[in-house]
Symmetry: C2
Subunit: 222 residues, 2 copies
Amino acid sequence: MITQASVQTSTAFYQRTGGDPPVDFVRRHGLFDLYDKHRTFLANEVVFAEGQPSDFIYKVIKGVVRSYTILAGGRRKIHSFRLGGDIFGIDSSGHREFYAEAVTFVEVMVARHDTPNILSQELYDVTIQELIRLRRHGLLLAMSARQRVAHFLVDLAQRVKQADILDIPMNRQDIADYLGLTTETVSRTLTQLETEGLIGARVSRHIVLRDVFALRRLSEGM
Amino acid sequence: MITQASVQTSTAFYQRTGGDPPVDFVRRHGLFDLYDKHRTFLANEVVFAEGQPSDFIYKVIKGVVRSYTILAGGRRKIHSFRLGGDIFGIDSSGHREFYAEAVTFVEVMVARHDTPNILSQELYDVTIQELIRLRRHGLLLAMSARQRVAHFLVDLAQRVKQADILDIPMNRQDIADYLGLTTETVSRTLTQLETEGLIGARVSRHIVLRDVFALRRLSEGM
DNA sequence: CGCCTAATTGAGAAGTATCAACAGAAGTGG
DNA sequence: CCACTTCTGTTGATACTTCTCAATTAGGCG
């Protein structure tokens, strides 16, 4: 189910009065700048599902979104987590190739993903960034559990701009499905990193990165 | 080293007489249609290297190209193999994020990858396809060795349009680095698949797919 | 035919998954 | 505010998978 939107933004130029803004108006500006249609989702609500038409792209204002695929065997593989500022929902023009779900309470902006004959520079850049991210994630999945978990911590810390104290918004299952591990292995690996002094003060989803350099070295394949 | 080009194409409208065609001329048409600059590479020659400016994109006419990254620990991760018809070299506007090397003797067409303010629909589509491919590869890397090898065989067979008799152009190390396994595991897995009757008549790089359905089911995560 | 590299096989070590039990957090209702 | 319930995370024991190192066999090519 889809919860209804809150409307005001600090950066909004266009005040929505009801109905969508005219498409031409949206087109002539940035992807999201003037299109202040907001939506909110409760934790675990579906943002979009595999197979649905992919008419919109999303920008995260608040909260975390996971995008994933269910494999034939029933396992879930999470491709990425989207944090504040991230844009997602770029897909084959046509239909969704994966699911997107709110991990926490989420607020997003929505922009029309028009038939691809309108190509903005911004959209292309976002796509290239996504490409690079996926390539990195591929590297990650070829590494050891230690390296994957280290990468996850360093990457998350950087993205949420928390230098060394980290509040992890997702649960162990999410992390495991993202890293291609089991929750048990994630847990054990965290315990191991703690024993070695790389992380500390671990209270479930609250972790202190004690040796960011070592973690970073690990995460880069050393 | 970069070997010099052969010039004539069957589909060429524009005969190169010396120097590059004027950029505007290239822009107004398809990415490759009128830009018949060909290059050839011997096996293991570098097409481009990490860090180089990314001014061109390539289309494979003949042969196989591998693109890869060297991890900090010295290991090599192959992101993809490019076969006939594939377009590659889409990257962050700026500099190459990975290496591209010829696996076999390779013939490519080259097109200018202009500053991204000129965006062709074709280029965008290629980028989206690449995105989808990388996402699939991510799924793959979260599966078992059996599943990865099965996926590799099925995917390759489909791409080279060889229904069930497969001539594999790359060696075991390439396959291993692509699948995130070791050569030994690839070998053992092939032997196992042979024992089970899924593949047969295996002579090094020549493999018969005996049970494509079973292989396909494996490759999809069952 | 003989050499050289690639591929396979073997044995043992290491890493990760699985199944099960336990501990800790967070929420619920009295 | 506290007991109760439930969900999430941790730990333990064991099985299975994959890696590592070493030896052997097969293929490709002069």
